[in-house]
């Protein structure tokens, strides 16, 4: 908050002007989402009438049913859900273990290994997509859930975040448990994990979002239409039904539902996770 020396009257005008500017901007930002909803529920002929009114003349919820009848969205959603949920379980478990080791143990090669983890952040999947496809293919995992889960299960960003969080766990707690004769795994599960709930929540939310929204890896690995995820399916629809905008928007909206739920209920965790990248 900046401290000012200007007069209160002028300051009030400034604030009002700023507010108006920000509010108009926010409306512009929200408009595409609103327009998707309106296109999805408005009577079909109205979409192509040329005159675009801000409000639909009627709410045709059956547009969604029609879309679901025409497009195998539910099977894609199932694939995406399986992939995202399994990925969350694996990524969160192994990232917690790994971040904990980097935060709380001293061992030979620790710094080198941590730099290796950080350097994985520098290698975008788009750069290695060709050899990655070949590796997954050699492992016999094409058109297999594991073919998209395993390559992205280790998440450098997650390890980094967990480590930053766990550094602040007091060593005394861990030492006390060790003196009580607890095994390292017990200490991790009974002492460290309960203390790490905030970072676990952030990790779960981000991993789910990343895997649900992933496109290029599933596009390359899951070529069988039965294995399509929501995003790969949407891309197919864009090619096949490029004039059926009502149904396309209905399906696009449905594809956003999990993300909108996360956005509404876990916005604090989302902001924490993103702000964390900027501050550390």
């Amino acid at each position: 908050m900046m401290v000012t020396t200007t007069s209160p009257m002028r300051r009030r005008f400034e604030t009002a002007g700023l507010w108006l500017l920000l509010a108009v901007g926010a409306a512009v930002m929200l408009f595409p989402i609103y327009w998707m909803l309106v296109t999805a529920i408005r009577p079909r002929d109205e979409v192509f009438s040329g005159d675009v009114s801000l409000l639909p003349s009627g709410w045709v919820w059956s547009n969604f049913v029609d879309a679901l009848n025409h497009m195998p969205f539910l099977s894609w959603a199932w694939n995406s859900t399986v992939i995202a949920v399994v990925a969350v379980v694996i990524t969160v478990s192994i990232n917690l273990l790994c971040g904990y080791a980097f935060a709380k143990f001293r061992f030979a090669g620790r710094d080198i290994l941590f730099i290796a983890v950080l350097s994985a952040l520098m290698i975008p999947i788009q750069v290695i997509i060709v050899p990655l496809f070949l590796v997954v293919s050699d492992l016999g995992l094409l058109n297999n859930y594991w073919g998209v889960i395993l390559p992205r299960a280790a998440e450098a960003f997650g390890i980094f975040m967990v480590r930053q969080f766990m550094v602040s766990i007091p060593d005394e707690l861990l030492e006390a448990a060790r003196l009580d004769g607890a095994s390292e795994l017990t200490i991790f599960l009974k002492v460290v994990v309960p203390l790490s709930k905030p970072v676990i929540a952030v990790l779960i939310i981000f991993t789910f979002m990343w895997r649900w929204n992933d496109f290029v890896l599933p596009l390359v690995i899951l070529t069988d239409q039965e294995m399509y995820t929501v995003q790969v399916g949407l891309n197919l629809l864009k090619g096949q039904y490029n004039t059926e905008w009502t149904e396309l928007m209905a399906i696009a909206l449905l594809s956003l539902v999990p993300m909108l739920v996360i956005f509404v209920f876990f916005q604090r965790q989302l902001i924490q996770g993103i702000a964390g990248t900027g501050l550390k």
């Binding site: 908050m1 900046m2 401290v3 000012t4 700023l18 920000l22 901007g25 926010a26 930002m29 929200l30 595409p32 327009w35 998707m36 979409v47 192509f48 040329g50 005159d51 675009v52 192994i94 273990l97 790994c98 080791a101 980097f102 061992f107 994985a120 520098m122 290698i123 975008p124 788009q126 750069v127 290695i128 997509i129 060709v130 050899p131 990655l132 496809f133 070949l134 590796v135 390559p151 280790a154 390292e184 991790f188 929204n213 496109f215 290029v216 390359v220 929501v230 995003q231 891309n235 864009k238 905008w245 396309l248 696009a252 956003l256 956005f263 916005q267 993103i274 702000a275 900027g278 501050l279």
Partner: protein, 313 residues
């Protein structure tokens, strides 16, 4: 090994029979951290580090997937230098980055400063700017394709009423890239805003109090207090956004497919086409390596500049 077991004398007196379990008992505490990082390290090795090396290997071969890789030396890289389409894709990527990165940073900073003030409904306003962050790039591309639709899109409808349009947004090379740039701004602004907001909130108010005592006006406060203290954040956002825009794929693949013509084909798009449409694995890998080198180079340059300017502050 012998002296290690001396430090854990109880290990020898235990009743374990096999030498392996005895060795494990005496070294358990030393091995624990390695076991904890092992799953991640294994996955990174197989799915990140090995593919990078593999890409380097394939990039010096001629390979169409069905035949045997044939050594080609620097041929793929030489071909790349003379490939006009590659240069076009690189040019598109640079234009796209130059148009999106500074703009998202400036707008994001402006929003963060504005929404850091006491304003009515600022939490809601922040949420509205932030919402696109959770929308997948494929869904974004679909929505944008509909908004920019030549005949029935709402943008052209508004332009028509204002007497300026319609504009053939996605069907002409001239306007396709600007459409994608505008869409990218929509996607990225909220991210920059959130990172800047967090940074602003970590600046101690005492700096501003001191500046006011020294008679600093509000623009001066921004110039001499806020901006220098935000430098590390700006630096980080710059790197993240450049990397993002150099590897952009999903949005464009779905929105325009790289067209019309070659007008919106970016490097990753071109790599994808070489590998999965033309089966030129060697050539595609060579371009992947070049892209990686570019990203690495840019980050290093940024790093150097940032360190040098910080010495003068």
């Amino acid at each position: 090994m012998a002296d290690l077991s001396m430090t854990y004398p109880q290990a020898q007196s235990e009743t374990s029979t096999s030498p392996i379990s005895r060795w494990w008992r005496s070294n358990r505490s030393r091995l624990t951290p390695y076991l904890f990082i092992a799953p991640n390290l294994l996955l990174f090795s197989v799915f990140v580090f090995f593919p990078l090396l593999y890409a380097a290997y394939i990039s010096v071969h001629q390979w169409s997937l069905i035949d045997v890789p044939e050594f080609a030396g620097s041929q793929n890289y030489a071909r790349l230098l003379g490939d006009l389409q590659f240069w076009q894709a690189l040019k598109n990527t640079v234009i796209y980055s130059a148009a999106t990165v500074p703009t998202t940073l400036i707008i994001g900073l402006f929003l963060a400063i504005g929404l850091n003030r006491e304003l009515a409904g600022r939490t809601l306003l922040r949420s509205m700017y932030f919402l696109p962050v959770v929308v997948s790039s494929v869904a974004t591309a679909l929505i944008a394709a509909w908004l920019f639709n030549d005949n029935y899109g709402v943008i052209n409808a508004v332009l028509k009423q204002a007497g300026v349009g319609p504009v053939a947004w996605l069907s002409t090379p001239k306007w396709a890239l600007p459409s994608i740039i505008l869409t990218t701004l929509w996607v990225r602004i909220g991210f920059c805003m959130v990172v800047y907001l967090a940074a602003l909130q970590s600046i101690s108010p005492s700096y501003y109090e001191a500046a006011v005592i020294d008679g600093a006006t509000r623009p001066q406060q921004f110039l001499y207090v806020t901006w220098p203290l935000l430098r590390p954040t700006t630096f980080l956002l710059l790197i993240l956004n450049v990397i993002y825009s150099f590897q952009v794929f999903d949005l464009i693949y779905v929105m325009t497919g790289g067209g019309p013509g070659f007008s919106t084909t970016m490097i990753v798009q071109y790599i994808y086409r070489a590998a999965f449409a033309n089966s030129e694995m060697g050539y595609a890998s060579a371009m992947g390596i070049v892209l990686f080198a570019l990203i690495l180079l840019f980050t290093l340059i940024q790093w150097r500049i940032n360190r040098r300017t910080e010495q003068f502050v």
